[in-house]
């Protein structure tokens, strides 16, 4: 099991290094290497998750190690699903380091299996948690798109044509990327909150109990709702949308981790 995790970890390291190397020297052979590497890493990662599921007996998404590893997998899979339909030049260069950073956190987190209290052992666990994390994954992609947009716009507006100008795609396609990922992320986030409250009703008898995670999820939800609302009504696109996607993501990360470490509550990862 550990072996499979380590294999996945090093595959992501390889992919990240290849993508960065490609970004600098633009050798198409390295790009092909990175692309296939990403697919192989995803397969290996799915393999690891399945093996862990079989060995712990429930969906491995409750400890910090498990949740972060699953987060990384979700980013990787949503990236691949996105890439399968749209092509955004050098997107992988920005996504792969994030996936690797998440894997780094998972690598240094305890891989100990923690007993899950019977209250939480329900079908809602995989449904709620995987939807919520998938939402985070799409918001991660939106964050990458936002960063790419801001870098590209800075060079186009400032008229100093450095690294990013030739290597990043057009502002239009970065904005579209942002739009797609924000919409998908927002829908999944909504679904995550709804399934979470159904589960809470089943486990604790109440739909909503202002647990810190719940509160912060609501804050995140409101931020993204505002971004999308303004986008459709007032035309907050492009630069503003990109900035908000970056800011929103900081809140996402805080909801994912900060809440657990600082505020505690029923969502705290065991271990």
């Amino acid at each position: 099991m550990t072996l499979l995790f380590n294999l996945t970890f090093f595959l992501y390291l390889f992919v990240t290094v290849s993508y960065l190397a490609f970004f600098f020297n633009q050798n198409p052979k390295i790009q092909i290497l990175a692309r296939y590497g990403m697919v192989i890493a995803a397969v290996s990662h799915v393999g690891y998750t399945v093996v862990r599921y079989l060995s712990v007996g429930y969906t491995p998404i409750t400890s910090n190690h498990e949740a972060v590893s699953f987060f990384a997998l979700a980013v990787c899979l949503s990236y691949l699903s996105f890439r399968w339909r749209y092509q955004v030049k050098n997107f992988g260069v920005f996504v792969s380091p994030i996936v690797f950073a998440l894997m780094l956190v998972a690598y240094f987190s305890s891989t100990k299996v923690v007993e899950l209290s019977p209250v939480l052992q329900s079908l809602w666990l995989p449904v709620h948690a995987s939807i919520a994390i998938l939402a985070n994954a799409f918001l991660t992609l939106a964050f990458c798109g936002g960063v790419m947009y801001l870098l590209q716009e800075r060079e186009i507006k400032g008229k100093h044509f450095g690294m990013f100008y030739t290597r990043l795609p057009s502002l239009e396609s970065l904005d579209n990327l942002n739009n797609h990922c924000l919409t998908a992320g927002f829908l999944l986030l909504t679904l995550g909150i709804v399934t979470g409250s159904f589960w809470a009703e089943q486990a604790f008898g109440t739909y909503w109990q202002w647990d810190p995670k719940e509160t912060w999820s609501l804050v995140t939800w409101l931020i993204y709702a505002a971004i999308l609302h303004q986008r459709f009504t007032a035309g907050w696109r492009r630069r503003k949308a990109a900035i908000l996607a970056v800011i929103g993501y900081i809140v996402v990360l805080f909801t994912f981790w900060g809440v657990n470490f600082m505020l505690g509550g029923i969502h705290s990862y065991a271990g």
């Binding site: 198409p28 186009i156 507006k157 502002l171 239009e172 579209n176 007032a234 035309g235 696109r237």
Partner: protein, 433 residues
């Protein structure tokens, strides 16, 4: 050696001024003195490339002593230049140098604007004419086809031709960086001028949907609008049109600013923040430099566009260096092929291939017939060897034959090598001894 039979005599924009080049250029109506080239220089194959920037005469000739002078006399015959002067204005490449030179020319590494794609088409046309006149043979056919494929390889493996190196193309490139696809976008021309019209033309070629022409005199606007199949409007309509356009190219002769920041700011809200690309190619400037500070407004003046051009030129030079490496690699390969284009190595290769097939088949057959007596084995081996030798007898005689009824040596070599697939990489199992 075959390689040393290839000669290229040429003049280009670097070696000769236009006054000289125009005297040497061959007429553009497609009749080239190819037969005269072959007879006067004693070459067996020849091709002439003549464009406004260069004339290249490519020949294959056995007469290495006579060729340089004869080629120069052929090219400079119409001028009053002495042979020394002619030598000063031209370059003569032979063998590997000639190979590298043609590959560089075809790939546009030797062009005035490195990477411009026209030259390849001109080279293809030159080859077409020469081959239609039966002036090319085995060597030039392969040589020129190789130069096309080298050019193609460089185009796909490097981005030598992908960046804009003129102001009006730079405007298009920026528009694409901002809007992605230009399909259905609306461009407005304010004032008219050569560069503005050129930029508009490029934008239309890239799919821009509509052109609106605004001018101080409506009459001129109407005339220009007709040229682009667009709409005309008076200068007073500039602000009302601003809501619907995506790209604005301004080049009026007005002394002051035509468009200020405060004119555009409220429009952006009406536009729902759709981006606006403003191009100012007027001097003095028409558009308020402050406009660039508005969200989703991108203002480029002529210096900014020049900067794009400079960056792209530097990028092209870098890509050209990668192109040179490909040329060197391909020239080496072509030379290897040429070396094989001699009678004795071809015969040796042919024998080697046949022997390999013979040995492989013998091993298989004898492996299946283990209970054969040693004597029987030997006679089977002998038989197989005899079949191979007899089969090869005629092709080898054909290769060696120097009589008049046979096509020339290059042709014979090319045919034989093609029939027996001697130039294909990874011959079908014949090599696995």
């Amino acid at each position: 050696m075959q390689a040393n039979n290839i000669f290229i005599l040429g003049v280009n924009h670097k070696t000769a001024p236009v006054e000289i080049r125009e005297q040497l250029a061959f007429s553009a109506d497609g009749t080239l003195p190819l037969q005269e080239l072959l007879t006067s220089t004693g070459a067996s194959e020849g091709c002439i490339l003549s464009t406004c920037n260069r004339v290249e005469i490519i020949t294959v000739s056995n007469d290495a002593e006579r060729s340089p002078g004869a080629l120069r006399r052929f090219l400079f015959g119409k001028t009053s230049l002495s042979d020394d002067e002619a030598a000063k204005y031209s370059y003569l490449h032979q063998g590997s140098e000639a190979i590298t030179h043609l590959f560089r020319v075809g790939a546009s590494l030797d062009s005035m604007i490195v990477g411009e794609p026209q030259i390849l088409g001109q080279l293809k046309q030159a080859y077409k004419i020469a081959s239609e006149e039966n002036c090319t043979g085995a060597i030039l056919n392969r040589f020129l086809h190789k130069s096309f494929s080298v050019a193609k390889r460089i185009r796909t493996e490097t981005s030598i031709g992908s960046n804009a190196v003129s102001i009006s193309y730079a405007a298009v490139e920026m528009a694409k960086k901002i809007f992605g696809d230009l399909q259905g976008k609306v461009v407005m021309l304010v004032g008219a001028g050569e560069m503005a019209e050129l930029a508009a033309e490029h934008l239309i070629n890239q799919g821009v949907g509509q052109v609106v022409v605004v001018n101080r005199t409506l009459e001129r606007a109407v005339k220009l609008a007709r040229q682009f199949n667009g709409k005309a409007a008076g200068l007073d309509e500039l602000f009302t049109q601003l809501e619907d356009i995506d790209i604005l190219i301004s080049s009026t002769g007005a002394p002051g600013l035509v468009l200020k920041k405060d004119d555009v700011k409220p429009v952006m809200r009406q536009r729902h923040n759709r981006p606006l690309f403003l191009i100012d190619i007027a001097v003095p400037r028409d558009l308020d430099p402050e406009l660039n500070n508005l969200d989703n407004v991108y203002l480029y003046d002529i210096d900014d566009l020049q900067q794009v051009v400079d960056v792209n030129k530097a990028e092209r030079d870098k890509e050209a260096a990668r192109g040179e490496n490909i040329v060197a690699e391909e020239a080496m390969k072509f030379q290897q092929w040429l070396e094989g284009m001699e009678v004795s190595p071809t015969i040796a290769e042919l024998r080697r291939k046949a022997d390999a097939i013979c040995q492989a088949e013998l091993a298989r057959t004898l492996g299946n017939l283990k209970d054969l007596s040693p004597k029987a084995q030997v006679s089977i081996e002998k038989m197989a060897g005899a079949i191979v030798s007899k089969m090869l007898h005629d092709p080898i005689r054909f290769l060696k034959a120097e009589d008049r009824h046979n096509p020339d040596k290059g042709e014979r070599l090319a045919v034989t090598r093609q029939i027996f697939a001697l130039d294909q990489d990874g011959d079908n199992g014949a090599e696995d001894e």
